[in-house]
């Protein structure tokens, strides 16, 4: 239920694996919303942009949250909509953690930007986040 991407997926991980296809669709769709949000925000607050984009849209089952780094790498978290324990603040901190971890990945000299992320450290961060959240 976590994805980092710049329109092409860098990393996708979902907890109930059987519905993976749906997640992919959801995430893919959410990118349009991200795009829209960015273009809307960009005009008004180009410089002091908030990275967290908030709830992108709710589907009948999931809530989709978005986050975009300054280098336009997007993070999307999809949460079951029945999950009420996750408030905006938690999501926000999850994104921040993700972003930090992602930065670490990018700092790895052996990582080729644009390749799918295959970092154990990143994996574990995501796993712990998922365990906590879901």
């Amino acid at each position: 239920e976590v994805l980092c991407c710049a329109n092409y997926p860098l990393y996708i991980r979902s907890v109930p694996t059987q519905g993976e296809l749906k997640f992919h669709y959801t995430v893919h769709t959410s990118l349009d919303v991200v795009e829209e949000k960015i273009s809307g925000v960009g005009k008004a607050l180009a410089d002091q942009r908030e990275l967290y984009l908030g709830l992108l849209y709710p589907t009948e089952d999931y809530k989709v949250y978005g986050y975009m780094t300054n280098s336009k790498v997007k993070f999307v978290i999809v949460v079951d909509s029945s999950n009420t324990s996750l408030r905006d603040n938690e999501i926000r901190s999850m994104f921040r953690k993700l972003h930090n971890s992602f930065t670490d990945v990018m700092c790895n000299p052996f990582y080729n930007p644009g390749d799918p992320i295959q970092s154990k450290a990143f994996d574990s961060i995501v796993s712990t986040m998922m365990v906590q959240a879901f």
Binding site: Y8, P9, H24, H28, D32, P58, T59, E60
Partner: protein
């Protein structure tokens, strides 16, 4: 509430708060117009309860006549029909009249109001001057107003207002109007606050009861909607919307709770099966039908939802926020879908269709308000929703409300396209396919593997329905190799292909091209190509095997009828293919990059080195981008092989091309290898094609370019010096040495020619280089891979002119090697001094190819003409021999004794043994004796070292004018036996040195004229280009300029000191010139120095000094016998004056050119002449070499 006649009117948006009017109806009617007009003119601040923000509102009112039935009965919650204010109008100004009738009427009115608990009333007293004037008995102190206040408004004096002359245009009337209106507004607001507050309290109470059994959402809905209506009526749309939102939220919560198992009875009505859905009407502000349904508790979920939504939309539009409509529409759709599911509402497919249609109509309506920015998001989400519904209902829907929807959405064309996404499952597979292909493109470009697979599956379905077999098979091929799919699915798609392939093309007999070409890259991955032998370069008779390594992505083994690789003949120089094969590893494998969109975009650079074909020197170097054609093409026209419809057009088979074939190949899942055998020629691999019944798998381009060469070669002969350094520990130079037997290696590359029995090489003999016979000679035959095949004896026959070497039988493409001993005689006259001249830097171009300046070796070129059996032409082979020695001689004098020293320098890298060094005189001059002073007869001369030997020259009587001597020695390599000694001869001539006294005179004397004889002798024949010739009387001559100068003032040259002589071009030609000199001192004087120049006639001088004076500065120089310096000068001056000699105004001047050092040997250099105080005669000889 009972149905009311006015109700439809009430529910229009022209609703206004009701204000009743009692009392004098005529008066009111008169005032009505200005009242309704002026009331909304100014806003009023509305302070709200519960800390809600105050609002400025413009009040309007619907003034109706007071009737008792207008007053709300107990328990009636209808707010819209609620009269908020009651006004009693009177224009009574007469106390009597008041007391008589008006007061009573007012009391009745008040009683009626009190009965219904209404406290919002107002008495308006209209004062009119006209009326007052008519009445004379006016009480000045207490007016009617006061009376009324006294009677009715105890403590509420503001409930009675007077209005002065309302119909007049006076300032007083204006004033009273404005205060009246203010009062009216205030009271109205007070009434609102009070009544609405009470209503809200009631409503809240009702809401708190929602857990009680029997509570109905519908009832509550009606109540809260009343409030919303009132707010709407007051134009407080925001507030109204809040009411609906609250209702929405409440309902949603209920449904969610229901889903969680917390059911409520009233929800039962919503659980009824959906029979129909009539859609949304956003045009009408209020959909009364639905409202009635809700009121009766008969509304379905969809009815309620759509009613709510339509109300919300209406309000949003009033609020001028239409964009929220779409957002809410989206939510609505989700909610509906989710709630239907939660409530487990079942609905039949036709209903569902209509419902979907309605959904879309909603969208259509929404999108009319807006552009399409959110289409994507909406649709993406909606697609999943639909997926849910279809899953849930388990219905695959065949036909669609496509047309209806299209109409609904016709205003937004782009929408139609996207709309098709979700109607994919419902309708026209054609448009669905198109759409899916579009979305597929985006998934491919962004590498979303799972959606990609899913979309492809859908496409496959569409294509199957559409009977697009080509495309379907292509998609199936992709799906069959898709690891995201389950094994079963993959098998299914693979089977689809196989089934099609095995079908005979009976039904399509008319169609010639019943075959279907699929992209091979979707099914298999070409991993490697391996050449055996690895060079990919073999000759015709050898076998070049080409092994393809294919990785099959199919889930099952596939048996191909045959697989073929089409090849393209390349007409190129064999040498230039080297860089083309740069992709090949040294072990002969070509690895094909895995096709991925990311790797395709990387630049693939390679080094390009071009060697010139003649001498293999580098002629150009550079970097080339090998996949430029991929990178440089326009992006929009780029087609990916993954999109089957575009790739298919590119899958044209190259017809008529040559093929490599392999039959009956089974491709099992995983790695396979296929071996081809290559035909002769230089070929580039182009395509791969696998045939599988009617299906052909085609790989249209092989990249990187792979080339191989099966060549046919002309026979070649080469002769090289044999390098023996690896056999002998002595370092042997790689040069052939003259004078010693040398081995040369003959190498014959037979090429396509097979050497037959009796074939022989014919070598033309030359005297200077005989071929030596040796008893055992054998030839080695090597295969093309340098393996020794055979060794056979070689027979050599020699006749006078020709040496014939009969070759052993050799198959084509083999190498034949044998050694031959040759001896190059050292020419006996090394006085050509060629090497010396070369060291002087005067290099003529002719000799460039055989130079070795630093070693100073003399080179001998030997040309051997070889007749080969395979050619009618003779092959001219040039061998260069090096003379190992360089000999110098010098004449040494001690007093009258003369010694000849010969210095033999070994210029080669071989050590030599030297014996029998002898010096002989060729002319056998009787009185001459050469006395050897050498002690050893044997000596070793190491490389680059010298050996000196000295002889004393003794003679009796007159010394000879010249001596022709010959130095000879035997030499052999230092480690060779004595028998190997070879003679070495060196001829030289000593030109003598004579002092020939003048006739009758013994010695020269100072002051007296002496005769000086200058003898110029040519010692060598000139080489062709060295000197200029002039033909005079059939005799070739060279013109020399001599000059006798004495710089030391020892001699005075009398008469002509210089002149030009013509030397015949023949060795030993001598020219003698006599002149007179006078010694100025007595004693041993050195000879005057004589300088020699080449005299170049004017036409031969390429560089002409512009100034005559600078050209010839020497006064004493005359250019020829006749031309005196003075005349030349005068001529020059004439020229400089620019006189009439205009034919050649700058006539080229003759030029002198100095000889190089060492070219002139001065015989009297360093010699002295004894000059006595008396006159003496001298004779001097100058030798020119």
């Amino acid at each position: 509430m009972e149905p009311h006649e006015e109700k439809p009117i009430i529910y229009t948006m022209e609703n206004k708060p009701i204000v009743t009017c009692a009392g004098d109806q005529n008066l009111f009617t008169a005032l009505y117009g200005s009242l309704t007009q002026q009331l909304p003119r100014e806003p009023m601040e509305w302070r709200r309860s519960y800390g809600r923000a105050p609002k400025m509102i413009y009040l309007e009112a619907n003034f109706v006549q007071f009737k008792e039935e207008l007053l709300p009965k107990e328990g009636n919650k209808a707010l819209l029909t609620f009269p908020f204010l009651h006004i009693y109008w009177t224009d009574c100004c007469d106390t009597e009249v008041y007391k008589a009738s008006v007061k009573e009427d007012m009391q009745r009115w008040q009683a009626a109001l009190r009965l219904h608990g209404s406290v919002d009333w107002l008495i308006a007293v209209v004062e009119s001057d006209n009326k007052k004037k008519n009445k004379t008995n006016i009480l000045p102190r207490t007016s009617i107003v006061d009376k009324i206040r006294n009677d009715f408004c105890n403590k509420q004096s503001d409930r009675c207002v007077s209005l002065c002359d309302p119909l007049k245009e006076s300032s007083r009337s204006q004033e009273s109007w404005s205060s009246f209106l203010t009062k009216l507004r205030t009271l109205l607001l007070m009434s609102f606050t009070r009544n609405l507050g009470r209503f809200e309290d009631d409503m809240r109470t009702l809401r708190e009861k929602r857990t009680e059994p029997g509570w109905s959402f519908c009832d509550y809905f009606m109540v809260q909607e009343e409030l919303a209506f009132v707010f709407e009526m007051l134009q407080q749309f925001e507030e109204a919307l809040v009411q609906y939102d609250e209702l929405d939220a409440l309902f949603t919560q209920y449904v969610l709770n229901f889903g969680a198992g917390d059911g409520a009875n009233w929800l039962g009505s919503f659980c009824q099966p959906v029979r129909s859905w009539n859609g949304l009407l956003l045009r009408r502000p209020i959909d009364m039908e639905k409202r009635d349904l809700i009121q009766r508790g008969e509304a379905s979920l969809l009815d309620l939802r759509s009613y709510l939504f339509s109300r919300q939309c209406t309000l949003l539009i009033f609020l001028q926020r239409p964009w929220e409509v779409t957002a809410r529409a989206l939510e609505l759709l989700h909610n509906c879908v989710q709630e239907l599911r939660l409530l487990e509402v079942c609905f039949s497919p036709p209903v569902f269709q209509t419902c979907l249609g309605r959904f879309w109509a909603v969208f259509g309506a929404c999108f009319r308000y807006l552009g399409l920015p959110r289409v994507w998001g909406v649709l993406g989400v909606f697609r999943t929703s639909l997926g849910h519904i279809s899953d849930k209902s388990g219905v695959f829907l065949g036909c669609s409300p496509y047309k209806k929807l299209k109409e609904a959405l016709s205003s937004v064309e782009a929408f139609e396209k996207h709309y098709l996404v979700s109607v994919r499952s419902l309708g026209d597979p054609q448009s669905a396919e198109n759409f899916l292909l579009d979305s597929l493109k985006s998934y491919v470009s962004e590498s979303w593997s799972l959606p990609l697979t899913h979309t492809r599956k859908q496409i496959a379905e569409c294509q199957k329905q559409l009977q697009k077999m080509d495309e379907y098979l292509q998609t199936s091929a992709l799906l069959a190799s898709d690891t995201n799919l389950s094994e079963e699915e993959r098998r299914h798609f693979c089977q689809e292909i196989l089934t099609f392939a095995s079908q005979t093309a009976e039904g399509k007999g008319q169609q010639k091209d019943a075959r279907v070409a699929l992209s091979m890259s979707s099914v298999t991955r070409l991993q490697e190509l391996c050449f055996r032998p690895s060079s990919a370069l073999v000759h015709v008779s050898a076998a070049l095997l080409l092994e393809l390594r294919l990785c099959s992505l199919m889930p099952v083994p596939v048996t191909l009828e045959h697989i073929s690789a089409s090849i393209h003949f390349t007409e190129e120089q064999p040498g230039s293919t080297a860089q083309k094969r740069a992709a090949q590893n040294p072990d002969g494998t070509v690895t094909f990059p895995a096709a991925s969109p990311a790797s395709a975009s990387a630049l693939e650079l390679c080094e390009m080195l071009e060697h010139s074909p003649s001498d293999n020197t580098l002629s150009s170097a550079g970097l080339a981008c090998r996949n430029m054609h991929l990178l440089m093409r326009r992006n929009d026209s780029a087609t990916s092989l993954d999109t089957p419809n575009t790739a298919l057009t590119a899958l044209a088979l190259e017809d008529g091309a040559q093929m490599l074939r392999a039959s009956d190949v089974t491709l099992s899942p995983g790695n396979n290898s296929i071996v081809f055998t290559a035909p002769p020629g230089v070929y580039t691999l182009r395509q791969l094609c696998a045939t599988l019944g009617r299906v052909q798998l085609v790989l249209p381009h092989l990249y990187p370019v792979v080339q191989y060469e099966v060549y046919s070669q002309e026979p070649q002969l080469s002769i090289q010096p044999l390098t023996v350094s690896h056999l002998v520990c002595v370092v042997v130079s790689e040069h052939l040495l003259a004078g010693l037997p040398q081995q040369v290696k003959f190498t014959i590359l037979t090429g396509h020619y097979s050497v037959k029995k009796g074939d022989a090489l014919q070598l033309s003999n030359t005297d200077s280089m005989p071929v030596l016979h040796s008893s055992t000679r054998s030839a080695r035959i090597l295969s093309s891979s340098a393996e020794l095949v055979a060794e056979s004896a070689l027979s050599i026959q020699s006749s006078e002119k020709v040496t014939s070497i009969s070759l052993p039988v050799t198959p084509p493409y083999h190498t034949l090697e044998f050694l031959l001993d040759v001896l190059c005689h050292i020419p006996s006259c090394p006085a050509r001094m060629e090497s010396e001249r070369l060291t002087n830097g005067q290099i003529s171009h002719r000799t460039r190819s055989r130079t070795r300046f630093n070693s100073g070796m003399t080179l001998i070129d030997q040309k051997v003409s070889v007749d080969c059996p395979w050619s009618i032409y003779s092959t001219l082979v040039s061998l260069t021999f090096h003379v190992p020695f360089k000999v110098k001689h010098s004449l040494l004098s001690v007093g009258r004794r003369k010694f000849i020293q010969v210095c033999l320098q070994n210029v080669s890298d071989t050590n030599f043994r030297l014996t029998n060094q002898t010096l002989t005189e060729n002319q056998h001059t009787p009185s001459l004796e050469l006395l050897s002073l050498n002690t050893t007869t044997h000596s070793l001369v190491f490389r680059q070292q010298c050996v000196f030997s000295v002889w004393e020259l003794r003679w009796s009587g007159v010394s000879p004018v010249s001596l022709h001597c010959e130095f000879s020695a035997s030499f052999a390599p230092a480690d060779a036996p004595d028998a190997a000694l070879k003679p070495y001869r060196y001829h030289f001539t000593l030109e003598r040195v004579s002092i020939r006294p003048a006739e009758g005179e013994q010695d020269c004397r100072t002051g007296a004229l002496c005769r000086l004889e200058v003898s110029l002798t040519r010692l060598s024949e000139p080489s062709d280009s060295d000197e200029e010739y002039s033909d005079t009387d059939g005799l070739r001559t060279t013109r020399l300029l001599y000059e006798v100068i004495d710089n030391n003032s020892n001699w005075a040259v009398c008469g002509k000191s210089s002149g030009v002589v013509s030397m015949p071009v023949a060795a030993m030609a001598t020219h003698k010139v006599h002149m007179e000199v006078m010694p100025l001192f007595a004693g041993h004087l050195p000879f005057p120095s004589i300088r020699l120049f080449k005299y170049l006639p004017h036409h031969a001088s390429p560089v002409i000094p512009p100034d005559t004076d600078s050209c010839l500065e020497n006064d004493s120089l005359s250019l020829d016998d006749q031309a005196e310096t003075a005349s030349l000068r005068s001529r020059g001056s004439v020229q400089s004056l620019g006189s009439g000699e205009s034919a050649q105004p700058r006539g080229p001047m003759p030029k002198r050119q100095a000889f190089g050092p060492g070219q002139v040997f001065n015989g009297t250099q360093g010699q002295q002449v004894l000059v006595l105080p008396a006159a003496d005669h001298h004779l001097m000889e100058v030798n020119v070499t």
